[in-house]
């Protein structure tokens, strides 16, 4: 097919494939939102999804932890495997899956609870702590990994909604990390943040790469270039090009990719 994605095996770094998606189709009612997307997402790598609004990048991201299940009219076809296991298999409980594939959303959405309870929410549900001390430990570790511990350690009982936008988003990242996922999905995590908070979150994303496969949807090409190692360009529901970030931004193979990153379409 004309717009079949281009594959290049990664030349540098880890090569384990964490998520393997094949011929994924997504329909919203009669609307064919994602067409024939085939992509391998690497472990311990930041993968960026870029593309103009409505191109399907967020929709595809939400397929990876079956968040689309919560939308009635949404239908997903094709094969998505994490570590070789089909996540759309009937035996897979989407709830369990989501504990394994964490998600951070566009707008910071802390629960109207204390900072501590925000972090402890996931671990409590999954019974990860046997007592208060273990839970304290988990909370502290998550907040440290979210690079927000120093800012909130003195007010863990204060409401999470009282933090600034950037702090809230890092709190949400810490909350996602607390359940010890293997994959972290981020849907435009910086679009509601100012440049300073964005820089902090980007730095954090780079650190998270040590432990997780991170998939980030972004509208900012600079951000994709800064934080990711692999980049996928989506256009009108198709995956146009998927390659090393450096290659996509310097020498894209597809003319549409080039038009987009130079600002001619979008």
């Amino acid at each position: 097919m004309y717009d079949a994605p281009h594959y290049t095996r990664q030349e540098t770094g880890v090569t384990d494939v964490k998520i393997k998606a094949q011929d994924v189709q997504v329909y919203y009612g009669d609307n064919h939102a994602i067409k024939d997307v085939t992509v391998d997402i690497q472990d311990k790598t930041v993968t960026a999804f870029i593309g103009p609004s409505g191109c399907g990048k967020s929709t595809f991201l939400r397929c990876l932890n079956r968040m689309n299940d919560t939308i009635d009219i949404c239908r997903v076809e094709g094969d998505i495997r994490i570590d070789g296991d089909d996540i759309y298999d009937k035996r897979v409980d989407p709830v369990q899956l989501r504990a394994k594939v964490g998600m951070v959303f566009q707008k910071p959405n802390p629960f109207p609870k204390s900072i501590y309870d925000n972090i402890a929410y996931g671990p409590r549900i999954h019974g990860m702590a046997r007592n208060k001390a273990e839970m304290d430990d988990i909370v502290e570790r998550a907040l440290r990994r979210g690079a927000i511990w120093d800012e909130v350690k003195d007010r863990l009982q204060a409401p999470g909604t009282g933090l600034s936008g950037g702090q809230q988003q890092r709190l949400c990242i810490a909350r996602a990390v607390a359940t010890e996922p293997e994959v972290l999905l981020m849907d435009e995590p910086c679009s509601a943040l100012d440049p300073i908070a964005t820089a902090q979150v980007e730095e954090l994303i780079d650190e998270l790469r040590q432990n997780y496969a991170v998939v980030i949807v972004t509208h900012s090409m600079q951000q994709a270039a800064r934080v990711s190692q692999k980049t996928a360009f989506f256009h009108l529901g198709n995956l146009v090009e998927y390659d090393d970030t450096s290659k996509i931004f310097t020498n894209p193979e597809d003319s549409r990719t080039e038009s987009y990153i130079t600002g001619r379409i979008g």
């Binding site: 968040m67 989501r98 109207p112 996602a176």
Partner: protein, 490 residues
């Protein structure tokens, strides 16, 4: 001149001013509409407004004030000696008004001539006969002072009405002239008209507020009057409610405590029924139900809210009461003496409140941002965990507000209590006993032919005031909580 005519004349003057102002401003601008500050229609409206509104306002005030002033003057014609022991000045004045009305009727039917009616030397016996021939209703014999006062009343109202007509028409004309004088192309008619519209909106808002104020004031004055006749401490702390009705004599015990207890107890039972059912229904409808089910179930649930409370009362009396009697009555457990009980009224009132709680809670639960649910699902929580641990806590202040509003509905409810809970004021813990509430007792104290000046009747106002303060407090508290909740997401 009949009032209707006066009203029409003022309207005609206003309409004339409208047309004249429009024509005038267009003529001044030489038909060049661009030279005008406002559209011609605004110049017309300005003139109509300035001639019509003040005239009609004066007319309205005059209509209210004239009878009061004339009554006071006419009342001066009745010496204290003419008022019998058994009656009061107010009753005599009512007689005077009836006589005046009777004379009007007699003149209208031709029984009496205008000059005869004005004759101060008129033969009163002959006059009474003529009045009753004309069909006037006179309760007692007309006495000379009453007759003279009635004559005075008629004369004064004739003068007053004439003066009113002249003044109102003059005001309308003067307003029209004034508006026409200021009608020039650079006059900012649009702004003035919009100020007028704003005044209208303010007036509408003030009427609502002033009415509330009026209700409160009438309650306060009567309550103060009651406390002058009956000690406040016995009213608020008395544990016995036993009013003696006029004619039977004897002192009354008017303690509010048994009534408040009944109100509280019945409302409590109602809330225990309504809150869980309403809340669970709301959770099902907003979180689990498919759009199809929701589209059918929600309106059906809200039909409950449209049933008149008297119908609920009948349901309590005819269905729920006998049903409870079968289980808890003498044939069953033996806790219940009669079908009317706290339980009967409370259950039915609870059913009445279900749509109230569920509909408000449903709105509040729907207002919880989807982002919070997504956040919870994204962490691997199930739907039920998400509802229990994220959605409900987030919606809790709003739900508490809804419950408090339902509680103030329950406290103010009357018909279900009258029919379902009985009429006995009693301090008891047994929910199968008959009890009564503040509202039901207000009804029973004011119906029937009790003397409105007696403490037994005035106590109704004190009860109403107490209830008003309680429900007002609950509503203010509920609104405070709901508002605090809103701030979290905006």
């Amino acid at each position: 001149m009949p009032l209707l005519w006066l009203f029409l004349i003022v309207l005609a003057i206003a309409a004339g001013a409208y047309v004249l102002a429009r024509v005038r401003v267009l003529a001044m601008a030489g038909e060049n509409r661009r030279a005008l500050h406002s559209l011609p229609v605004y110049y017309g409206s300005n003139a109509a407004m300035k001639s019509g509104v003040p005239a009609l306002l004066v007319l309205a005030v005059w209509l209210v004030a004239q009878p009061l002033v004339i009554d006071t003057i006419a009342s001066g014609h009745i010496p204290d000696s003419a008022i019998a022991e058994t009656t009061s000045r107010g009753l005599v004045m009512a007689e005077v008004r009836r006589t005046a009305d009777g004379i009007d009727m007699a003149i209208a039917s031709g029984e009496l001539s205008e000059t005869a009616a004005r004759d101060p030397q008129a033969d009163i016996e002959d006059l009474s006969a003529r009045l009753s021939d004309a069909g006037a209703i006179l309760t007692s014999e007309i006495t000379p002072p009453v007759f003279r006062a009635a004559q005075e009343l008629r004369a004064l109202s004739a003068v007053g009405t004439q003066a009113m007509t002249i003044i109102v028409v003059l005001i309308a004309l003067f307003g029209a002239l004034w508006a026409l004088r200021e009608t020039k192309p650079d006059f900012r008619a649009r702004n003035v008209v919009e100020q007028g519209v704003r005044g209208l909106l303010i007036a509408a808002a003030s009427i609502a507020i002033l009415t509330t104020l009026g209700i409160v004031l009438s309650l306060v004055f009567n309550t103060v009057e009651f406390f002058r006749l009956y000690p406040a401490s016995e009213f608020f702390f008395g544990t016995n409610w036993a009013p003696s009705f006029s004619g039977r004599g004897g002192a009354s015990d008017l303690g509010i405590v048994p009534l408040l207890w009944g109100t509280f107890y019945i409302s409590l039972v109602a809330l225990i029924v309504a809150v869980p059912i309403g809340l669970f229904a709301a959770i099902y409808l907003s979180e689990y139900a498919s759009p199809k089910v929701r589209a059918v179930a929600k309106p059906l649930l809200e039909v409950l809210a449209g049933i008149p409370t008297i119908v609920y009362g009948l349901f309590a009396l005819l269905t729920v009461g006998p049903l409870l009697m079968r289980v808890f009555g003498d044939e069953g457990l033996g806790w219940m003496q009669a079908g009317t009980a706290v339980m009967t009224a409370g259950l039915v009132m609870g059913i009445m409140l279900i749509p109230f709680v569920s509909s408000l809670s449903d709105d509040i639960i729907n207002a919880v941002p989807q982002a919070l649910r997504d956040g919870s699902y994204g962490l691997g929580a199930t739907q039920s965990e998400t509802i229990r641990q994220v959605v409900l806590p987030a919606a809790l202040p709003g739900i508490v507000g809804a419950i408090l509003l339902a509680a103030s509905r329950a406290i103010g409810e009357t018909m279900i209590v009258v029919l379902g809970a009985g009429a006995a004021a009693r301090l008891s813990l047994n929910p199968f006993d008959a009890m009564t509430t503040v509202t039901a007792k207000i009804v029973s104290q004011l119906t029937g032919d009790s003397d409105f000046a007696s403490p037994e009747a005035l106590v109704a106002f004190a009860l109403g005031m107490t209830l008003f303060v309680i429900t007002l407090g609950l509503n203010v508290f509920a609104l405070y909580i709901v508002r605090k909740y809103r701030e979290q997401y905006e």
